[in-house]
């Protein structure tokens, strides 16, 4: 492995100061992605800043508004099995358990999960060009092997996807990302946290230099989908594989009518993919197949496939109505029995 310095930050201001002082420094918590990227020579930090001893980032707390504030260091396993999460925000628990393995979820942190990098083969291989890794060097994925790549929101510079399952649920739940930086704290709506590649694919998110994630807040409204939700993930093997397509769906149904719908797709874009128009189309309607199909059509408007991933468009067109039917029926996808009902 490349060499680097190690420092341990004992507070958020100390971590922010260490980040701000050296653009080549990287925060480390679980390390499940960063250590791997260092081994592949993709990340070359001058210094890693260990934040795992900052106690205030390890808590899950009730907010005054009836939501939950999840500290950035809460491990993925702890979050998924926290009774407040599994009872009030079961979509989040399900999405977390759909991803990775127990070993990885035990180590991985909440903040690290949303900050993980793409698994694009070319990004991971420093012997190939990659606009995300080396801006301006090109994108071999577009004419190359692109089975796991984007069909929505991509650019001529990058067709990478965001790999997180948890982030797809957080997008559907309209979570809020709390960050701390040299200028103090600010809150970022989840849909504004990750970004599309455009002509700056090296930027995964909207964090400013020196900023770090300190918490993710689940708003009280996100508990409206406790009964009608699902996280449906389709992949090349039944466990421990990144999504080809995933659908996070939450419906609030009253009197046989969808009052509120939230849908996010994973595995299809540089960020969890939402279309407010698709959700609005469902609202006020009976939860029935025709409406689900129309919703899928809007979500997939403008989708473009490549040599190896064009199948994803049709797969998504089938997966979205199936997920909405699971949510409407109150029969969320099991993450252990992989049969899809």
């Amino acid at each position: 492995m490349n060499r680097f310095d190690y420092v341990r930050a004992d507070s958020v201001p100390a971590a922010v100061a260490a980040l701000a002082a050296d653009p080549a420094a990287r925060l480390i918590a679980g390390g499940t992605n960063l250590v791997d990227l260092i081994k592949y020579d993709v990340e070359r930090p001058s210094r890693v800043v260990d934040v795992t001893r900052i106690e205030e980032l390890k808590r899950i707390e009730e907010t005054s508004g009836g939501g939950l504030r999840i500290g950035a260091l809460v491990p993925n396993t702890e979050l998924a099995y926290d009774v407040r999460v599994s009872e009030r925000f079961p979509l989040l628990a399900s999405a977390i358990l759909a991803g990775a393995t127990v070993q990885l979820r035990n180590a991985a942190s909440t903040g690290g999960n949303i900050n993980q990098r793409t698994r694009c083969y070319y990004f991971y291989d420093p012997h190939t060009p990659c606009n995300k890794r080396e801006p301006g060097s090109g994108c071999p994925a577009i004419p190359g092997v692109n089975r796991i790549h984007a069909i929505l929101g991509q650019s001529e510079h990058c067709i990478a996807t965001h790999p997180s399952d948890m982030a797809v649920a957080l997008a559907a739940l309209e979570a809020i990302v709390h960050v701390a930086g040299p200028e103090g704290e600010r809150a970022i709506a989840f849909e504004d946290y990750h970004r599309l590649p455009g002509d700056q694919p090296h930027r995964d998110n909207t964090l400013m230099p020196g900023e770090m994630v300190v918490a993710i807040e689940l708003p009280a409204e996100a508990s409206a989908y406790g009964r009608h939700h699902t996280y449906l993930k389709l992949r090349d093997r039944l466990s421990y594989a990144f999504a080809l397509i995933s659908v996070a769906a939450g419906l609030a149904i009253e009197g046989g009518v969808v009052r509120r719908a939230r849908i996010a797709l994973g595995g299809v874009a540089h960020k969890p993919w939402r279309r407010r128009e698709a959700e609005a189309l469902l609202e006020g309607q009976a939860p029935e197949r025709a409406a689900f199909t129309a919703t899928a059509d809007i979500l997939l408007e403008g989708a473009q496939g490549y040599e190896h991933n064009a199948f994803k468009i049709e797969l998504a067109r089938k997966a979205i109505p199936r997920a909405l039917a699971q949510a409407a029926a109150g029969t969320p996808q099991s993450q252990t029995d992989k049969r899809i009902q």
């Binding site: 190690y6 250590v35 791997d36 396993t77 070993q103």
Partner: protein, 174 residues
């Protein structure tokens, strides 16, 4: 900011202490050393295997404060003050752990390279209490790959010990 003091003799080494299989160690570690390399090269605990070295195969699974993790993705310096358990630490008083015995009984291996990781992972799964069906066991063991394909027997071994514990007669077999 607490800067961990560098040693004069080896400027990049950091002083770290941890308990491994019940024994305390005061160590000097380079920041880029993984827990896996520390165990194998500095502590001569070669039971924990290096398979992929990228968190994909589970051969390096150890317990950190009781939770199973991939040692290949953990920086050793970050384990300061932690308790680590490896395959070498599972036997008690000269007797194998019940899951080790079950692996032998069910022939739950062929080449054996993944076996230490499978067993440590399985011991953690039993403690987690989520081995309630064969589907559960398969899902919660998906971080441990066996290229010989001994999976059916691995699931059998874990299922048997889980059932013994659920029935409250863990010492009954044999």
């Amino acid at each position: 900011m607490e800067m961990i003091q560098a040693e004069a003799k080896a400027p990049q080494c950091l002083r770290v202490s941890m308990v491994v299989n019940g024994e305390s160690h005061a160590l000097e570690i380079e920041p880029w050393t993984t827990l896996l390399d520390l165990l194998r090269h500095q502590l001569d605990l070669s039971g924990t295997k290096k398979g992929c070295d990228h968190g994909q195969c589970g051969a390096c699974t150890v317990l950190v404060d009781g939770r199973r993790m991939n040692a290949c993705l953990l920086l050793a310096v970050m384990q300061d003050g932690r308790e680590i358990t490896t395959i070498e630490g599972l036997a008690q008083d000269g007797r194998m752990h019940p899951l080790q015995e079950a692996f032998v009984r069910h022939d739950a291996l062929q080449c054996g390279y993944c076996t230490p990781g499978q067993i440590v992972s399985g011991v953690a799964l039993l403690a987690e209490g989520r081995a309630k069906s064969r589907d559960d066991i398969r899902e919660h063991m998906s971080g441990n790959i066996c290229r010989c394909g001994a999976y059916p027997n691995i699931v059998d071994a874990i299922e048997e010990v889980a059932a013994q514990r659920a029935g409250g007669f863990r010492e009954a077999v044999e």
